[in-house]
Structures are given as C-alpha cells and as structure tokens.
Amino acid sequence: MSVRRREGGVQVLQTVDVNDQIHAQLVKAGVRLAATLPDDWLNGLIRRVDRDNDMRHIPVGREAEAIAICAGAFFGGVRSAAIIGNTGLLTCTGEMATLCLRHAIPVFCVVSERGSIDDHMIYQEVQGRRTIPLLQAYDFPYRIIDSADEIETIPDAYEWHRLQKRPFVLFLTKKLLGLKKS
C-alpha cells in the first residue's frame, strides 16, 4: 500500500505495510496482549504482533481460548485483542455469549472477513453468508474496515467496545489486506 506525504516541501510516495498500520493503531489503542490463531489472511498481522516485544503474544489452539484469555487480561488491567479467522469466530460465539455477555466483559476481536464476495474458497462460503446475521442475533457489534484510511479509526473502535461491555468484531477485508484474488 502506498501513501503520499510531504518531505522537505516535496510530495513523496511511501510504501507502508498494512499490517504495520493495523498494529500501530492497536498499540495506539493501548493493546498490550494479543491472543491469536492463524488464518492465511491474518498471518502478516500475527507475525507483526509477534515481533513486538512490548506486546504479549499468546498463540492458542482454539479460538475460544483467545476470547477467554482476553477476558482474563481485562481483570489484570491490560488491553488485549483476539486475532482470529472468521471460521474460528463462528466456533466461539457460545463462549462469547456465556462468558462475555453473562459477565458484561468487553473483548476486542480482529477477524478476517472470510467468505466475502471476493473470497472464492468454497469452504468459506457459509461463514460469508451467516457470520454477520449471527453477530446481529447475539447483539455483538461489529465494524468492517475496507480501506487504509479507516485503519486510524481502530482506537475509537476500541474505546467504543469498552463502553459496550461485550464482544466487538473488527473485520478486515481482503481488499484492505492487499491479498490477491483467489
């Protein structure tokens, strides 16, 4: 991804990695712990998190672990994010409801928007159709980030999810992540 900036009165084009930008905004939001499980759209972001020595990275074996780890971190006074794929999000909505809704605990989820119109992997199609209706049924708020200029809204989204006192899903699109068409 390229951005224009001025340097000594001259406009220059600079290449910025989208995962660096997302990571930087998570840091700006105060996130100091990330619990992750890979999805091939998110591997760049997960690797970026892993390189941050000031952010505790907890790789997990199942996405619901990430939800519960972030819920526990909340009570340690540490801001956190669960970075998981859309398929994994579907597997843990029960835990998001019975832990986070039951106890009114905010958890910030960063999720690949798998199954979108430009994702032609056959095993992602159900996720594409059913994830958002399921989130709406649970009344879990969400936001879809599709362009680089929206990345800077992440700190606002983080504050907003805290006052919602429930899980929040920030979807990252294929276009945003700069992935090739499948």
Binding site: V60, A64, E65, I69, G72, F75, G76, L99, H103
Partner: protein, 200 residues
C-alpha cells in the same frame, strides 16, 4: 476426599493468590469455604476458566494465580494445557477437581471416567510439574512445595462424587456484579486500574 475438604486445605494455603473457578462444584465449594470476592466464579464458557486464568496470570506476573478447574471442564478444552505450556507462566497453579462425573447435572458419568490420567496428559502437553493427589492429608503435605515451586504446576485432586451436592449456585451475586466486585477487588488488592475513570 470430599471436595469441601480439599477446598479447606487450599484455602489455608492460599496466601495472596487470586483464584479463578470453573463453573460447578469447584466454584460452589470454594465460595462455601471462603466467601472470597477476589475470586472469579465463571458462570459459563465451560472449559475456559483455565484460559481466563492464563490471561489474568500473564498480566499480573508478580501475583500467584490459581485456577480451580474440574474434570468436566478440562475435558471440554484439553488444548488449554498446550497454550499454558507454551506460555510457561511462573505464577499459575492449575488445580483440577476430579470427581469422575458431571456432579451438578445429577452425577452423570464423565467420558472415559476410569481411563484418563490427567496429570500424564498435562506432562505430555509440556507442563513438567504435574501430579495427582488422592486425599486431604497428602494435599496438606504437598501444598508448601506446590506454593514454593514455579508454575505452571498442574495438580489433579481426586475427590468423591457426592450425591447430595449443592444444587442452586450458592453465590449471593451474579453476572455483571461478579465482574464489578472482582474487578474492584483486583484494583484494591493489586493497585491496578481495571476500569476507566467513568466506570467502564
């Protein structure tokens, strides 16, 4: 041993430990013995008290954190042992109350109730300190060493299934109030900020 006996021994050796309880017998008996508000009693997400405790433990590394898990809960999330081993939290002790049944749903039998060795599973996952304790006297004898050793430490407590168990949850508060009482207790005990200046 009875679960209540085991909880009494643990309470005597608790010290400054923050405690996370899985839903069910362990939580009910810990509350009955301690009435402690700097313990978190999970109301759902069966299987994930250990993950919650791990998230808490890594954020307060100077404070001992105990999770009082159960055989039913552990079976729903055996992968938590891999994640715990991957992090090697020195302040985390993982107790599993093993009564070989789902006691709070009328003592229905646990899956593979006679064939599982949870301590061996924990060791296999990479938690090198993992033991099994069968009675209250042995637990009393082992507690000083368990407290002194670095975590992660996995302790399976073999307890009796009890037909006359506590049926209604014994807590006098629930859900969101549990969050605020525990969060405020953490702020007071550890001098940290869990909630922001306007309460969320």
């Amino acid at each position: 041993m009875k679960t209540n006996e085991a909880m009494k021994v643990l309470a005597a050796y608790r010290g400054d430990a923050v405690v996370v309880c899985a839903l069910g017998t362990a939580a009910n008996e810990w509350w009955a013995v301690t009435r402690s508000e700097d313990s978190f009693y999970m109301h759902g997400a069966m299987g994930f008290a250990a993950s919650f405790a791990l998230g808490l433990a890594v954020t307060i590394p100077d404070t001992p954190v105990w999770v009082l898990n159960s055989d039913g809960s552990l079976s729903m999330n055996l992968g938590c042992l891999l994640t715990e081993a991957g992090q090697q939290p020195k302040n985390l002790k993982h107790f599993v109350v093993d009564n070989q049944c789902y006691q709070t749903v009328s003592n229905m039998p646990m899956v593979n109730r006679d064939g599982a060795d949870y301590a061996a599973i924990a060791r296999g996952a990479g938690i090198h300190r993992a033991i099994s304790i069968d009675n209250a006297a042995e637990l009393e004898r082992k507690m000083p060493e368990i407290n002194a050793a670095p975590g992660p430490y996995f302790i399976r407590l073999r307890v009796d299934a009890e037909p006359d168990y506590r049926r209604p949850p014994p807590f006098s508060y629930e859900g969101p109030e549990m969050k605020y009482r525990f969060g405020r207790a953490m702020e007071k005990k550890l001098g940290i900020k869990v909630f922001g200046p306007t309460g969320f």
